[in-house]
């Protein structure tokens, strides 16, 4: 159908949807008047039962840990999918990669400081996720971002060991598979899948919360590698050579 016809049909349809939304909203409890019970119950039981101060992370990695397992694999499948879809692109682009080294030492120094900062922030987010806000996903993305900065600031070679996709593939699988293995360990020992088996430790410390910590680290590894692999698929062969070209002309 023509674009005009599409707009003519879309308009009333969106108006109808808007009316439905309005009707639904009229029946919602007022903002700020959440009535529970699910969230309230978890706020009460998770800290004493799991020795984690961050109930959101306790929910993500323990009470609703299976959702997070699915989430890890959504990212995992997306990485595989992007690799599958872009395999022609990377194959046809056998041109040598230009390295475009940044000449200015001051810029490099700034970059190194930023990388150090990002790595630390990433690690901190991963490590303290089940105590304060943060966690494997956020930390993993920041960590991957830092390694990518290394690629931008440093020469291509600096990035190389991390960009070796065999290693990244393996690490990602260890992360995602590790999550499953922690869950299966509980199943083998006769409890339910993903049961928190390990010592719960003291609330508020890094060794608290039992297998939540393990799952958090597993997903941190998986997310870091997945993000790096995604970036590698999208970036490595194109953007930087292009920039170097721009700089040269």
């Amino acid at each position: 159908m023509s674009r005009r016809a599409r707009l003519l049909i879309l308009g009333p349809a969106l108006a109808g949807l808007g009316a439905l939304f309005a009707w639904a909203i009229a029946g919602l409890p007022a903002f700020g008047d959440y009535r529970g019970p699910y969230g309230f119950v978890l706020n009460r039981v998770v800290v004493p039962l799991r020795h984690t101060t961050n109930v959101v992370m306790g929910t993500t990695f323990d009470v609703r840990g299976v959702d997070t397992m699915g989430e890890e694999f959504i990212l995992f499948a997306a990485v595989l999918g992007v690799a599958l879809l872009l395999r022609d692109e990377t194959r046809s682009r056998e041109v040598e990669r230009r390295t475009g080294r940044l000449p200015n030492d001051a810029v490099r120094l700034l970059g190194v400081v930023m990388i150090g900062g990002c790595l630390l922030v990433g690690l901190w987010l991963m490590a303290f996720g089940y105590i304060t806000p943060g966690g494997g996903f956020q930390g993993g993305v920041v960590f991957a971002g830092a390694i990518l900065l290394l690629y931008v600031v440093g020469s291509h070679r600096d990035y190389h060991p991390f960009r070796d996709e065999n290693v990244l593939d393996l690490l990602e699988s260890i992360g995602a598979g590790g999550y499953l293995v922690v869950g299966l360990a509980a199943l083998v020992s006769g409890s339910a899948f993903l049961t928190n088996l390990f010592g719960l430790g003291t609330t508020g410390t890094l060794v608290s919360s039992g297998s939540i910590a393990l799952l958090n680290w597993a997903s941190a590894i998986a997310v870091s590698c997945a993000t790096l692999l995604l970036f590698a698929e999208f970036l490595e062969t194109y953007v930087f050579p292009l920039d170097a070209e721009d700089a040269a002309s």
Partner: protein, 91 residues
């Protein structure tokens, strides 16, 4: 029962998000849209913070600060690079 009202800061955050969405959608140029989407992402982060949701806020921050821009910009660069290469070829 608590009478539910919006704190002023929440009001501002919701307002920003409500403004941001049409701006992102109506910016038809992908590069500018990527920029607008970044600003929209920040307004979502602010909203999540004032809704007492630090974990989603952090997650949104890393996604709209690192994740989205990198893939979107890379895609734009590739598409433009192809176009340019093709133009060069025609010449």
């Amino acid at each position: 029962m608590v009478i539910a009202t919006l704190v002023p800061l929440q009001f501002v955050a919701f307002g920003l998000v409500a403004l941001g969405a049409p701006v992102v959608v109506l910016t038809r140029d992908p590069l500018r849209q990527a920029l607008a989407n970044g600003v929209y992402g920040v307004s979502l982060v602010l909203l999540f913070v004032v809704l007492e949701a630090p974990d989603p806020a952090l997650s949104m921050l890393v996604v709209s600060g690192i994740g989205y821009p990198l893939v979107i910009l890379a895609a734009i660069a590739r598409v433009r690079g192809h176009d340019r290469a093709k133009k060069d070829g025609e010449r």
